[in-house]
C-alpha cells in the first residue's frame, strides 16, 4: 500500500493509458508545457510529444467539437475543461454530437472520448468556478458519467473511461486533487456502471459519489457511537448507475439516504430516490432523504461557502430523519 493524491493518480492513469494505446491524445488549455492548471497532465508532453499532448486556444466549444471529429476518425481524445462551469460552452458538441452520433448513425461507429472536468466548491472559487452539473449529463442518452471519490478510484475509473468506446464525462472534485489516500501496489481499472460498497452496515444505506463519500464514511464513524450502522455506497458511475447494488443494500437496510454536493433540486439524487422508491417501494421503512446543496449559486465568501456546502452533519441529520 502506498498513498497517493488524487491529482497524481489521474496523472498516472493518463500516462498509462497513453503508453498502452497510441491513439489516446489529450487536449485542453495549458495542459502541455505547463501540465494543466491542476497538474493532471504534468510530464505528458515530455513523454508523448506535442502531437499527442495538445495545447488548445481558449475555444472550448471548438476543441470539444474537434474531439468528437477526432473520435469519429480513429483517435481517443481526452479533453480537459478547466472548470465544470465552462462545460456550458461545450454542450452542443457533447449533447448533440458526441452523445447522439452512434445512435443516429445507425450504430456505424462509436465516439470514444473522455471529457475530464473539475467540479465542486470549498476553495472559494466563487459562483462561476464551482458548480456541480453532473445531473445534466446523466439526463443525456449516449453519455456516460463518472465521478471518483479518491485516488485509487480516480485511477481505476479513468482507465476504464478511456478504454470505454462511448463518450464519458469524467468529473473530478477539485477539493480532492490534493487529498492523499491509500492505493494498492498495482492499480487496475474499475468497470463503469459498478458501484462499490465502501463500508458495509446494517441500518441505513447512504449512496454517494465524489467528495461526499468521505463525508458519508465520517458520518458512519460518528454514528457508530450510537450503534447506528451505515452502509456507505460509492456510486462511481452516475450514468449508467448500479441500481442492483443499491437495491440489494436497501433490501438489507430498508432505509436510504442519498448525498451529493450538487444542488439538491433536480440533482442526481432525485433519480436515485425516484428509482428506488419505485422498484424498492416495498422495502422502504422510512422516507428516502436527500442531502444536497441549497438552491443557490455557490457563494464566494468563506463563511457563506462553508454554510452552503453539504457535509457530515447533514448526512447524520438525514439518517436520523429516515429512521425516526
Amino acid at each position: 500500500m502506498a498513498t497517493l493524491a488524487m491529482g497524481r493518480a489521474i496523472n498516472m492513469a493518463l500516462q498509462d493509458a497513453m503508453s498502452e494505446d497510441e491513439t489516446v491524445v489529450v487536449m485542453g488549455e495549458d495542459i502541455a508545457a505547463v501540465g494543466g492548471p491542476f497538474g493532471a497532465t504534468r510530464g505528458l508532453l515530455d513523454k508523448f510529444g506535442g502531437a499527442r499532448v495538445i495545447d488548445m486556444p481558449i475555444s472550448e466549444a471548438g476543441f470539444t467539437g474537434a474531439a468528437v471529429g477526432a473520435a469519429l476518425s480513429g483517435l481517443k481524445p481526452v479533453v480537459e475543461i478547466m472548470f465544470m462551469d465552462f462545460t456550458t460552452l461545450v454542450m452542443d458538441a457533447l449533447v448533440n454530437q458526441a452523445a447522439k452520433a452512434r445512435f443516429m448513425f445507425g450504430g456505424q461507429r462509436s465516439v470514444p472520448m473522455v471529457l475530464r472536468t473539475p467540479h465542486g466548491g470549498g476553495v472559494n472559487a466563487g459562483p462561476q468556478h464551482s458548480q456541480c452539473l453532473e445531473a445534466w449529463f446523466a439526463h443525456i442518452p449516449g453519455l456516460k458519467v463518472v465521478c471518483p471519490s479518491d485516488a485509487h478510484m480516480a485511477y481505476a475509473l479513468l482507465r476504464a473511461s478511456i478504454q470505454d468506446p462511448d463518450p464519458v464525462v469524467f468529473i473530478e472534485n477539485k477539493a480532492l486533487y490534493a487529498v492523499k489516500s491509500d492505493v494498492p501496489e498495482t492499480m487496475e481499472s474499475w468497470p463503469l456502471g459498478h458501484a462499490r460498497i465502501v463500508r458495509p452496515g446494517q441500518d441505513v444505506t447512504v449512496v454517494s459519489y465524489g467528495a461526499m463519500v468521505a463525508k458519508a464514511v465520517e458520518a458512519a464513524t460518528q454514528l457508530e457511537a450510537e450503534s447506528i450502522s451505515l452502509e456507505v455506497i460509492d456510486l462511481c458511475t452516475i450514468q449508467p448507475w448500479d441500481q442492483k447494488t443499491v437495491l440489494e443494500s436497501l433490501q438489507r437496510t430498508h432505509h436510504l439516504v442519498v448525498a451529493h454536493e450538487a444542488v439538491e433540486a433536480f440533482g442526481v439524487g432525485a433519480e436515485i430516490v425516484a428509482r428506488m422508491s419505485d422498484i424498492g417501494f416495498d422495502e422502504l421503512d422510512g422516507p428516502i432523504v436527500r442531502v444536497g446543496a441549497p438552491y443557490m449559486p455557490v457563494p464566494f465568501a468563506r463563511s457563506l461557502e462553508a454554510a452552503y456546502m453539504p457535509g457530515t452533519e447533514d448526512i447524520i441529520a438525514a439518517v436520523r430523519r429516515t429512521i425516526a
Binding site: M56, A61, A66, G69, Q97, R102, F105, G106, Q108
Partner: protein
C-alpha cells in the same frame, strides 16, 4: 494534346453524371415530400450541386467530409450508396443510419462521410478534429467541411479556423454562399467579408462560381493540393438556392427577378453547354440522363420497399456493445 482533351472530356462527363445524380435524387425526394411520403423536413441543394460534385471528385474514401442540414449532394458526391441514402431519408431499416437520423443526419463512415448535421456550423469543429486524426495517425487524408453563408455568424467557425491554422491541419473550409440564411438575406446577418476574414488568419482563400462544376473542380484541385500539405484553406463558392429553405417553404420573401436569373445559373445547363462545346453529342447527354434516371428510380423504389426500423435494436445502440 488529344489525350488531354479526352481526359478532360471523361472528367466532365463524370462531373455531369454527378450533377444529374444529385439533382434527380433531390427532385424525386421533392415530389415524394409533396406527397407526404418523406417524414420530417428536408433541405434541398438544387442549384448548388456543382460544389459538392466538383470538390467530391478530388476526395478519396479516406478523406472525410462534415456536412450541413443541406447535405444530400455532399453525401452522394462522397460516394454513399444511393439506395441506403434514400432508405435513410425515408426512415427505413435499410437506411445508412437505420432510419434513425433522416435527411439531416445522413452519414456513411465507410466512405468518410461524417454526417450531415442539424446544427449550423457544427461540422466545422468536427472536421478540424477529423483532420487532427488524419495528421496524428499519419494518414494521407484531408477533411472538408461544408457550411452556408449564414453559418459564418456562428462563433464556432471562427474557433475552428483559428485551431486549424494554429495546428496546421489539413482542413478545407467550403462556404456555399447562396445569399440566404433561411428566409433572410445573409447580408443582414454577416457583416464581414470572407476573403478579408481569411486573410486576417493568414489562411489561403479562393473564390469560384459555385454553379460551374468545371470551375469548382479546377479551383478545388488547386486549393486541395495546398490543404494536403497541412495548410488549411477557405474556398468560397458563389451559388444559388433554387428551392425554399426547406420543402414546403413558399419563398414569399424572394423577388421574382431573382427567380428569373436562376435558369441561366443552373449548374446542369452550364455543364451541358460546356460538354456540347467539347463536341459531346446531344444523344450522349440524353443517354447519361437516362442512365441516372434509371439508377435513381431503381434505388428509390428499392428504398421505398424497405422495412420499418427495429425499435429494440435502436435502443441497444445508445451505448456500444450492449448486445441483445
Amino acid at each position: 494534346m488529344k489525350a488531354k482533351t479526352s481526359d478532360q472530356h471523361k472528367i466532365l462527363v463524370d462531373l455531369y453524371k454527378g450533377l444529374l445524380l444529385v439533382r434527380r435524387a433531390e427532385e424525386s425526394l421533392s415530389s415524394l415530400f409533396a406527397d407526404g411520403i418523406v417524414p420530417g423536413f428536408i433541405h434541398l441543394s438544387i442549384g448548388q450541386e456543382a460544389i459538392a460534385v466538383g470538390i467530391g471528385a478530388h476526395l478519396s474514401s479516406e478523406d472525410t467530409v462534415a456536412s450541413t442540414h443541406r447535405g444530400h449532394g455532399h453525401a452522394l458526391a462522397k460516394g454513399v450508396p444511393l439506395e441506403g441514402f434514400f432508405a435513410e431519408v425515408l426512415g427505413k431499416e435499410e437506411g445508412l443510419c437505420k432510419g434513425r437520423g433522416g435527411s439531416m443526419h445522413v452519414a456513411d463512415l465507410s466512405v468518410g462521410m461524417l454526417g450531415a448535421n442539424g446544427i449550423v456550423a457544427a461540422g466545422s469543429s468536427i472536421a478540424v478534429g477529423s483532420a487532427l486524426a488524419h495528421k496524428t495517425l499519419s494518414r494521407d487524408a484531408i477533411a472538408v467541411v461544408f457550411f452556408g453563408d449564414g453559418a459564418l455568424a456562428e462563433g464556432l467557425l471562427h474557433e475552428s479556423l483559428n485551431m486549424a491554422q494554429l495546428l496546421a491541419l489539413p482542413v478545407l473550409f467550403v462556404c456555399e454562399n447562396n445569399g440566404w440564411s433561411e428566409f433572410s438575406p445573409t447580408s443582414k446577418q454577416v457583416s464581414f467579408n470572407l476573403e478579408k476574414w481569411s486573410a486576417a488568419y493568414d489562411v489561403p482563400y479562393m473564390t469560384v462560381n459555385g454553379n460551374d462544376v468545371v470551375a469548382v473542380h479546377e479551383t478545388a484541385g488547386k486549393i486541395i493540393a495546398k490543404v494536403r500539405t497541412n495548410q488549411p484553406a477557405v474556398l468560397e463558392c458563389q451559388t444559388t438556392r433554387v428551392r425554399g429553405h426547406y420543402e414546403g417553404d413558399p419563398q414569399k420573401y424572394r423577388g421574382s427577378e431573382e427567380f428569373d436569373q436562376l435558369a441561366d445559373r443552373d449548374p446542369i445547363r452550364i455543364a451541358a453547354t460546356k460538354l456540347l462545346a467539347l463536341g459531346v453529342k446531344d444523344q450522349e447527354l440524353a443517354a447519361i440522363l437516362d442512365h441516372v434516371e434509371r439508377e435513381v428510380s431503381g434505388a428509390l423504389s428499392a428504398a421505398r420497399n424497405g422495412r420499418d426500423p427495429d425499435f429494440e435494436s435502436a435502443r441497444r445502440d445508445v451505448y456500444t456493445g450492449v448486445g441483445a
